[in-house]
Symmetry: C2
Subunit: 306 residues, 2 copies
DNA sequence: TAAAAATACTCCATAGGTATTTTAT
DNA sequence: ATAAAATACCTATGGAGTATTTTTA
């Protein structure tokens, strides 16, 4: 293998075309440079320079090899800086999973803030339910995930958790119901047909909704199931029933559907970030920094922007 | 600068994930490999591998740096082979100039034969008159040129010459002349309007044509000048006059034009190759080999294929 | 004669070797 | 107890230095 030191000797001499000055630029003296070039020429089996005692010129062979050498040198010389950026999380890849309910709130917020500070990191996004994300993380897949708040102490020891955003649920009701934007009374909600995620697709969210209804003495009358927030709102606007959705869904306007606060104590949906406590990926460290800034308590109930 | 030896250590260890086996594959023993990796990690400021006494694994940082290292190593390792190919004329660039009359004979022949044997050499073609080519070569530009045979001893000492192809001139006459394909008598040619290159554009060829007419006691009646063989034949087919053209032009069929041998001794157009005797470009050496094979005397009057 | 590359030699930094220790399973 | 990496120490190759010679414009 040709040592890059040799290659630099060649590249610099090819620029200066003067052994003395090239040696100076290389921080060495002339004789070892002469020897180095000679050794290189011997190894390649052809002269790279034509020496005429008073001048040095590239041979056509040397001329044609030079761009190859420059490219290889550039690649090698770029390695330390590339390593530094990867080490400091300024470049690389971040694999982030998220629950569907985060699409209009925590996810865009976080991703925008992170991409702004680490523009050269490739972000790989995957939608999944909270428990699927947790299993994946335990299996060593992905770097972090946005999940519904786990029951306290309900997370495996290997994972760490950061609450990011708490938002009340609001009701999405068909416009045909009338009553304008007045808060929806629990008693009215109990009697109405409900549109909801199937429980396996989002157990924590499902339990949050049915728990609230039960707390007001009713049982969920599930008229329709759907696995996408957008679909649920569409079904509401079609008049098939009402739904309880995160307040951030107000950003998803749909003719025929209307968002109304819940009267009394609304259920709170907490979205947070999980990751392997022991994970050493540098991109994750940078992401956690951004996430901790985004998780300021003051921001908990602030108006959300998509 | 990081030595590529180190990089190879890293790359191989990243594959085997076992210091002992990696050292073996690298033709060294385990301890210096350990030290080498440690030195690399110290230089980068972060661990590349996670050692757990019973197993070695890449850290996320190491994992993300690896492709960069592989690319740089590949570039460096490809250099000797690239040099060999450039040195042996198997790759690189060949700058070839040619006269217009070679377009249907010597040029395609040579270029095809050369490209077949040296498919990775980029051929740069430039059309120019013989004297322009000679000046360019003397100025160090280009590698070789196809020119009209120079008067014997008429070439500068610095240049070398190889006759490639001798072909008789034939007459291109308007179909309207009748007389079918019968040879054209000099006496008839003398009286007819002639279409010819302007002398500055092709002095040697011009003199060949006018010399032949003069040898038969006539002077050229130039009805029209044109600088492209194709244009000349077009003008012939338009009935503006006749032209004397290299026999290889028979390959350029044009309705309204007809090619007829010349009666008696036809002027012979010799096309040959010039190059700087001292030129060391490896691609030229390969090209000259091919040219010498293509210049077999047996081929002088053989039927030409475009 | 002078400028510049080549040659001759000397030295030392470091890559790699051998021997041994440490550590986790 | 054993496999595997780390540590300690030694050796020698070769890259770079100094001094000098060669060469040609």
């Amino acid at each position: 293998m040709i040592e890059p030191r040799r290659l630099r000797h060649f590249a610099v001499l090819a620029e200066t075309l003067h052994f003395g000055r090239a040696a100076e630029r290389l921080g060495m003296t002339q004789p070892p440079l002469s020897q180095s070039i000679q050794a290189l020429e011997a190894e390649l089996g052809a002269p790279l320079f034509q020496r005429t005692r008073r001048s040095v010129a590239l041979t056509p062979f040397g001329e044609s090899w030079l761009p190859h050498v420059r490219a290889a040198l550039a690649a090698v010389e770029a390695l330390p800086e590339a390593a530094r950026r990867l080490r400091d999380g300024e470049a690389g890849r971040l694999a982030l999973s998220f629950i569907g309910t985060a699409v209009y709130s925590a996810l865009p917020r976080l991703v925008q803030a992170y991409a702004a500070r680490f523009p050269d990191v490739e972000i790989a996004l995957t939608e999944a339910t909270s428990d699927v994300q947790i299993s994946a993380l335990l299996a060593g897949e992905g770097h972090a995930g946005l999940i519904v708040a786990p029951p306290s102490g309900g997370l495996p020891k290997a994972l760490d958790y950061l609450p990011l955003l708490s938002e009340p649920l609001v009701a999405a009701v068909p416009e045909a119901w009338g009553d304008g934007d007045r808060p929806l009374a629990p008693e009215a909600a109990i009697k109405a047909p409900l549109i909801l995620f199937p429980r396996p697709a989002a157990p924590a969210f499902h339990d949050l909704v049915t728990g609230w209804l039960r707390a007001h003495g009713g049982e969920a009358k599930v008229a329709q199931e759907a696995t996408q927030m957008q679909t649920i709102v569409s079904l509401v606007s079609a008049g098939l029933g009402f739904a309880l959705v995160p307040a951030s869904l107000r950003n998803l306007a749909r003719t025929g559907a209307r968002y109304r606060d819940l009267r009394g104590a609304a259920p709170i949906l907490e979205t947070g970030l999980v990751w392997r406590r022991a994970e050493t990926a540098p991109t994750l460290r940078g992401f956690l920094e951004v996430a901790r800034e985004a998780a300021q308590p003051s921001g908990v109930k602030e108006k959300l922007k998509p």
